[in-house]
């Protein structure tokens, strides 16, 4: 009796470890599979019968050389631009005015009304390097901070406001902390527990 229980005890941890290892292997295989940029002919969207596909660039060829990320195209596009890894054109017509707003003009927008989540600091600079003012103002966002009606997380998750791009072409809405990144200052009164 005693011998069997000792044996069981001896086998159990090994089994547990093999289970944990198996799960870890499965998860990493899954991640490797998901992280792969699929060739166009295998992505389920392009028609493999189209012989012209061979003339198009496959995502892996271009995207594997850019700063990595964990979601979306698995590319950190803002970093790619900052590091000069990509050098996208800003206009087609030479007379089109290109305006980039830095931190001073106008400043980053701090959104405080975020319930118990960290506050949101909206960086104008990074957005205006990619977008024109008219892409967001005045139809989607009012220029006056706090004046945009109906702007909340529910609407964003439905593809409005930030959700027009975030979740479609910009990093997805599962990346909460990339926007909710500004810790709320703890006031003296709130810190004291009554």
């Amino acid at each position: 009796m005693g011998g069997t229980s000792r044996e069981q005890r001896r086998i159990k941890p090994a089994r547990r470890w093999s289970l944990i290892m198996a799960v870890a292997v499965a998860i990493s295989a899954e991640l490797a599979w998901a992280g792969n940029w699929k060739p166009l002919a295998q992505d389920g969207l392009h028609d493999p019968a189209n012989t012209a596909l061979s003339q198009l660039q496959n995502p892996a060829e271009a995207l594997s050389k850019l700063p990595p990320d964990t979601s979306g195209n698995l590319v950190n596009w803002v970093k790619a631009l900052e590091q000069g890894k990509i050098n996208p054109r800003n206009n087609i017509y030479p007379e089109t005015k290109v305006k980039v707003l830095d931190k001073k003009q106008p400043p980053d927008i701090l959104m405080k009304n975020t319930a118990e989540l960290s506050m949101v600091r909206f960086p104008h600079k990074q957005h205006s390097e990619l977008l024109d003012c008219s892409n967001c103002h005045e139809w989607l966002f009012k220029s006056k901070a706090g004046a945009t009606p109906g702007f909340n997380m529910f609407a964003i998750l439905q593809g409005e406001y930030c959700g027009r791009c975030h979740g479609a072409v910009a990093f997805p809405l599962t990346e909460c902390k990339r926007c909710h990144n500004e810790p709320r200052p703890v006031s003296g009164g709130a810190a004291k527990a009554h």
Binding site: L45, A52, L56, L63, L130, G159
Partner: protein
């Protein structure tokens, strides 16, 4: 004893492989990894198949390496919602929308049908979103 251990070892390996396969299969079924196509790929099929050509797949990733968003969404006038833009070949040939660059000058011209009309037959118009929210509900 040695034989006993060997049996346990073999048993463990088989079990290990089986568990890994089951977890992998479950993850494939339930995990939010439907992206085989690239995040941001747009399918245009309002008119294409009715006109007898494959749907158009527009790769955002390819274009954003070369152009900032503002070029197409401001200068070219593409609205910022997949499905809000009615793009006809006649417009493109006249130099509107895609035709602003796809004119044999900046990029290939409108006569290279198969390079843009690359989609699988039967694809619905829309955009490939990649978040576990399933992408914004409105797409």
């Amino acid at each position: 004893m040695g034989r006993n251990q060997q049996m346990h070892g073999r048993h463990g390996l088989r079990r290990y492989v089986r568990v890994a396969a089951i977890v992998f299969a479950l993850l494939m079924l339930f995990a939010p990894f439907p992206i085989r196509a690239e995040f941001g790929d747009v399918v245009f099929n309002k008119h294409a198949e009715k006109e007898g050509v494959r749907p158009v797949i527009f790769p955002h990733w390819f274009h954003r390496i070369r152009f900032n968003c503002k070029v197409c969404h401001s200068e070219l006038g593409f609205k910022m919602r997949a499905g809000d833009n009615v793009v006809l070949m006649s417009d493109i040939i006249e130099g509107k929308f895609c035709g602003m660059c796809h004119n044999d000058n900046i990029a290939w011209g409108a006569d290279r049908c198969d390079l843009c009309h690359t989609g699988r037959p039967g694809m619905e118009s829309g955009i490939i979103g990649g978040s576990s929210t399933g992408g914004p509900g409105k797409w």
